[in-house]
């Protein structure tokens, strides 16, 4: 038995068979279906029918381009804010000398996952609402006389997305800083670099893999976000995820929904390509 396993070590592709079958049935096949549907015409009740057409793609880029760009823009902004907030946080956590302090801060980052995402997003409605916590507090202080309209804005969506995806930025950067050898900081100081230059020339480049991974992990789910804009964004904060949802639900246009899905996937694929390219240049491979 052992010998047989050894002999087949190199051509052990059969070990991957269950995965391949699973992916074929539940990933590739649905994807093909969506692709085909996106190229068909809209029939009665929103279902797809022949003939084939590119009209839905034309509409995706025409009428809905505002929402597409808004999604990309909001996702990019979310990524930037997460990076600005998350990098120092990850750095703080991984540079705690005491193991216990590190465990606790890391635990606090992961803690929100213990509660359902939907419920946490609802909580933001209470915080941001016209009679919500923030407005109530500011008005009681007399800073403002009328409530700020925070809810149902793109700002609210941004806040919700940053809140939801911040851990995905923090964790990979944390892992990168953990691996970072602080002897390089000594070496940079030794060679005459002050703190700012040390950070820009040595620390940041060497933790770049974590930064890139974090950006990918935040940007990709942000583009397709659906719950957050639905609950916090209202009409002004509509994103492509909501649009797709509408096409399959209320509006009843499955081919258009499929086309929008494909477009969104293309955006994600493009950002992944950027990630892979940046990573490859970074590691010098």
């Amino acid at each position: 038995m052992t010998n047989w396993l050894k002999r087949n070590q190199k051509n052990g592709s059969f070990l991957a068979a269950p995965t391949v079958v699973w992916l074929l049935i539940f990933f590739v096949l649905p994807l093909v279906i969506v692709l085909v549907v996106s190229l068909m015409s809209r029939g009665r009740g929103g279902v797809a029918e022949l003939p084939f057409t590119l009209a839905h793609y034309a509409r995706s880029f025409d009428v809905f381009s505002i929402i597409l760009w808004r999604s990309i823009g909001l996702a990019a902004l979310t990524t930037v804010v997460c990076l600005i907030v998350g990098y120092p946080l990850a750095f703080f956590i991984s540079t705690r000398r005491r193991r216990r302090a590190q465990q606790i801060t890391l635990f606090l980052v992961i803690l929100p996952f213990w509660t359902n995402f939907l419920i946490r997003t609802y909580a933001w409605r209470i915080l941001l609402g016209d009679e919500g916590t923030i407005n109530g507090f500011l008005m009681s202080l007399g800073v403002i006389s009328e409530p700020l309209s925070l809810l149902n804005t793109q700002f609210a969506v941004l806040v919700g997305l940053v809140y939801g995806f911040l851990p995905f930025m923090v964790l990979p950067i944390f892992a990168s800083v953990e691996r970072f050898n602080f002897r390089y900081v000594d070496a940079a100081h030794d060679l005459g670099a002050n703190d700012v230059r040390t950070f820009l020339r040595v620390v940041l480049p060497l933790t770049m893999p974590g930064v890139l991974a974090g950006c990918a992990l935040v940007f990709i789910p942000s583009v397709g976000a659906f719950v957050t804009p639905d609950l916090l964004g209202g009409a002004k904060g509509l994103m492509i995820g909501n649009l797709i949802n509408n096409q399959f639900g209320g509006s009843g246009n499955m081919p258009l929904g499929s086309a929008l899905s494909i477009v969104m996937m293309a955006v994600v694929m493009l950002s992944l390509l950027v990630y892979v390219f940046a990573n490859r240049r970074d590691t010098g491979a």
């Binding site: 070496a187 100081h189 060679l191 005459g192 060497l206 970074d282």
Partner: protein, 378 residues
């Protein structure tokens, strides 16, 4: 006007550790001259690396003053000090090429890029590693990385180069070669080297002066010869090379720097008194190097010291040869003198008669020059 490059004045460094305080450097004072090759020698945890890091500016002393070229270093960050460090693990920036690594320090000084490229090339030639500028550090061997680290520091032309066990990660043969090369390089560039090592042989072969450290204290500072031949403490004698320690009681202090010590079996020997010997000390130990001990039998009379030495200046004791061990260049003899006291003597394997006629169980005499033995605090 003295030209000291580095002056340490009563340096103390405490570290917080789990609620307690650990004293890593304990009242260390030393002056290091311009162009000197100065070794900090000691076992791991003795404070030698901390001392180096204090000079570099990576740590701040708890008390005391550090002067570099006469200038006080209080409040001067590492990146403004005229020193550079070669780290134990080299700490070459992995994301930069060899050339970029060497240019890093120059660019921080604002040296123009074209000039920096030229200087980097020259630095690589100086460490005999031309043509690797485009490579990444991980594509080089350990020895090559070591040279790059050296080039990266030397290109800055520091007043003082600090080296933290720079050869520690190299294999023995490469180490030996690098020792000679480093020493030659230091002579060429004329920069003061402060060299941290736990390898006594390395310190002895390379350094102009050695400071032996233990438990944060600087026990003795001197030339390799002074340290080896005239250790001032039990620790130094024990740490550097092999030493015999014979316990005894100091019975007489001569004005000539010699004293008489009565051994446990009642015999009395004379030996040089260490400067550091406590004035009230009576329980002492006599230290003597194995290669300083001669063995005499009726076949081999004690002629080893030649002329000029009065026989009255030679200590001689009866001994029983209990073991011998062939170790290549030398033979190592274990001898029992008196009541359970054992000595080790090393004879070079050049005199077949002396070495080959000795038999285990044989009664012999051991002898040494009184000036070779030192009386230390126990």
């Amino acid at each position: 006007m003295t030209s000291y490059d580095v002056e340490l004045k009563d340096i103390v460094k405490d570290f917080e550790s789990g609620g307690g305080r650990v004293r890593a450097v304990d009242h260390v004072s030393v002056d290091i001259a311009d162009g000197e090759f100065f070794a900090l020698l000691g076992p791991s945890g003795c404070g030698k690396t901390t001392t180096l890091r204090l000079i570099a500016g990576f740590e701040q002393p708890t008390a005391g003053h550090i002067l570099i070229r006469g200038r006080a270093m209080e409040g001067i960050p590492a990146y403004h000090r005229p020193v550079n460090t070669v780290f134990q693990d080299y700490a070459l920036f992995p994301h930069l090429t060899v050339e970029q690594n060497i240019m890093f320090g120059l660019q921080m000084e604002g040296v123009h890029k074209r000039e920096a490229v030229k200087l980097a090339g020259e630095a690589l030639e100086m460490v005999r590693l031309p043509g690797v500028g485009e490579r990444k550090p991980h594509q080089l061997s350990g020895g090559q990385q070591q040279r790059v680290a050296l080039a990266r520091s030397l290109v800055k032309q520091p007043a003082v180069l600090l080296l933290d066990e720079p050869l520690g990660a190299l294999d023995l043969k490469l180490r030996k070669n690098m020792q000679y090369e480093l020493k030659a390089l230091q002579r060429d560039v004329g920069i003061t080297f402060i060299y941290v090592t736990h390898d006594q042989e390395e310190a002895i072969t390379m350094a102009d002066r050695i400071a032996v450290m233990n438990e944060g204290k600087m026990l003795q500072v001197g030339t390799p010869k002074q340290i080896y031949e005239h250790p001032e403490t039990h620790f130094v004698a024990d740490f550097i090379g092999e030493t015999n320690f014979i316990a005894g009681a100091l019975t007489e202090r001569g004005g000539d720097g010699y004293g008489s010590v009565r051994l446990q079996d009642g015999s009395v020997i004379r030996a040089q008194l260490a400067d550091t010997l406590g004035s009230a000390a009576s329980a002492v130990t006599v230290a003597i190097r194995p290669e300083r001990i001669g063995i005499s039998t009726p076949l081999n009379p004690p002629t080893a010291f030649g002329g000029g030495v009065d026989s009255s200046e030679i200590a001689m004791l009866d001994a029983l040869l209990v073991d011998s061990q062939y170790i290549g260049t030398d033979t190592r003899f274990t001898l029992r003198i008196g009541d359970g006291i054992e000595l080790v003597a090393r004879l070079q394997n050049i005199d077949d008669l002396a070495v080959n006629t000795l038999r285990i169980g044989q009664k012999v005499k051991v002898f040494w020059q009184e000036s070779s033995a030192t009386v230390l605090d126990r």
